[in-house]
Amino acid sequence: MAQSEKSSHAQRVRDQVQLEARSRDHRLQVGLVLTGVLLLAVFLWTGLKENVYTDWRRYQLEYRDILEKKAKTKLGRKLHQDFDIRIRQVVIPELGVVDRCVSCHNGITDPRMTDVKSPHKVHPGPYLNQHEVGKFGCTICHRGQGRALVFSEAKAVGHHWPHPMLPGGLTQSSCGLCHSPAEVRSAGGEKYARGHRLFGELGCVSCHKLYGRGGSLGPELTREGWKAPQEVSMKNVRGDKTLARWIYEHFQDPQRIVPGSLMPPPRLAAGQLEALTIYTLSLQRRDLPSKYLSPGKYLELHRLRNPPEMTGKQLVARYCGTCHDTGSYGRYDAFYQRFIPAIRGPSFVQLVTPEYLDAAIRRGRPGTPMAAWAGGLKDNELVKIRSYLLGRKVEPGVRLPPKIVAQAKDPGLVIHGDVAQGAAIFARQCASCHGPRGEGRLGPALANRVFQGSATDGFLYATIAYGRADTAMPAFLGTHQGSYRPSQIQALVAFVRSLGGGVRPRAKVASGSANRRTP
């Protein structure tokens, strides 16, 4: 050997190469063994975890011991003897319920299970007496992913499941699936009933629709409580990314959760926030089988879809009052940072034509919080609102000259004036509230198409000249310092008209022929 070492350098190099190749081979083989062992271990571990050492099996073994300890009576012994270890579930096809919660919560219907720890405890409260588990399941009230066999997956928070489990305090929102608020007010649904009352008091329907009825400024709320987490933006939610949390934080500060939201913050105390969240969560539109609905719920749903007749006064209070209050005075709204017109103000009702009000109600004021009401209420209801507003009695002190009133109601009347002079006065006197281009600031927008299309020249003249009693709009006609002559007011009318880009009310067709059909 020593001889060959000396004899050939090439041989040594060959040996070296071979050695290296073998040791590489060796490393590969060790790696192979390690990989194999690792894989085996992983499969063994997952196999055992999935099939043998499962949570539900462990809980059922625990529960069987509890049953044995509590087996004092003949029935108790029978229950222990019959208790087999298997996946238990409640399946109710008509509710879409497949709930395996009962695989771990084995004692929910056993009144003896009061002194044991979760998940073996009996279900609290009397709820299961009226809601048999076999007929309702668990997720119908608690939500969550019923098919899961592991608690974190059943809770389904942050798992991209559509309806994660509700936190305990919010479960009563589910009462609303089958019960009206009045029915459960004193039977575990206090907060749900309170939320329902708040929903009415806060005037939510002024901006939101419920079953197609209500305002159009905000989104319809008919199934707000059944949205999946993916249907809303969770970006600014601080707590769990769940719908319940989104609704709660949104009521705290709408603009933080939805930047640019037009919703005034409701300013609620903690208890009210929770109640309103619960009520909102109850809005689900699930269309459950009718045999599950209570008589009260039946009636409630029927009334939502076929609302009872309301008077004009009731309609105004319910749908307009949230912003306009009684409508008889103008007020400044701090949230929208503008004056809200007095829709029943004494000056307004004297000057306004039914057509003007009709346009304002049906088409709203585009670009302002006053949204269109056509479609949100029935046709005859809009007429009732109009008649109620126009029906206001005007006290003698604020009556306008009859000639002025007559002019305001004549769409054919055209008032001419010096537009340049009008522009100058407008910039001085009007622009601070109505905006330099009449776009509206604190005061109403004058360049608005709907306004221009329904306000007559006479209406503009009367409003500028005599102002609006009980609002921030002053009268400009007069002889004292800071007031204007009729010709100057005519110039203002001409300028305001010029802001409309040619839109103006159409002259009346001969009376009576407007709605007549030609044969």
Binding site: V42, F43, R86, T109, D110, M113, R147
Partner: protein, 155 residues
């Protein structure tokens, strides 16, 4: 140095190869077994066969009641409660309780009040189902568990 180039007396490397391939093969078999296991679920989302009948005091002796949504016939007598399935043993129609026993509307089978066959084509008597009691005392019926005719449950 040359000593190290000699083949090992024990074929260590081939042992390693065999062990490595062996464990991999075992792991493969494990994976395959897992996949085959997936084909047979532990449970199917089927409606439960065991359901609640009601409180025992809803069935005092002398009660006879049909529960149509479950297709069962409940009889309560002094010796206990029994539940007879209304599914005809011929082709699965729902038999109707008649004056004396049950009539099948499909093929005219007739049964006596205890479910015994009076007239064909039904091959055998109506099924008596197992009655038991839940922890809260409710009577439970298991539609998948047949008991011998004339088995009465007493709490």
């Amino acid at each position: 140095m040359s000593e190290r180039l000699k083949p090992d007396p024990v074929p260590r490397r081939s042992f390693l190869s065999i062990a490595g391939l062996g464990t991999l093969a075992l792991a493969g078999v494990g994976a395959l077994a897992g996949m085959v296991r997936l084909l047979k679920p532990y449970v199917y989302p089927e409606p439960m066969a065991r359901f609640r009948l009601g409180r025992p005091d809803e069935f005092p002796p002398g009660t006879v009641k049909v529960v149509p949504e479950r297709s069962i016939y409940v009889i309560s007598e002094p010796e206990g409660v029994a539940v007879i399935s209304l599914v005809c043993t011929h082709l699965g129609c729902i038999v109707a309780p008649a004056d004396k026993g049950f009539d099948c509307p499909c093929h005219g089978s007739r049964f006596d009040p205890k479910g015994r066959v009076l007239r064909g084509p039904a091959p055998r008597a109506l099924l008596w189902l197992e009655v038991s009691q839940a922890a809260d005392g409710s009577l439970m019926v298991d539609a998948n568990r047949e008991v011998k005719p004339n088995t009465w449950y007493r709490g």
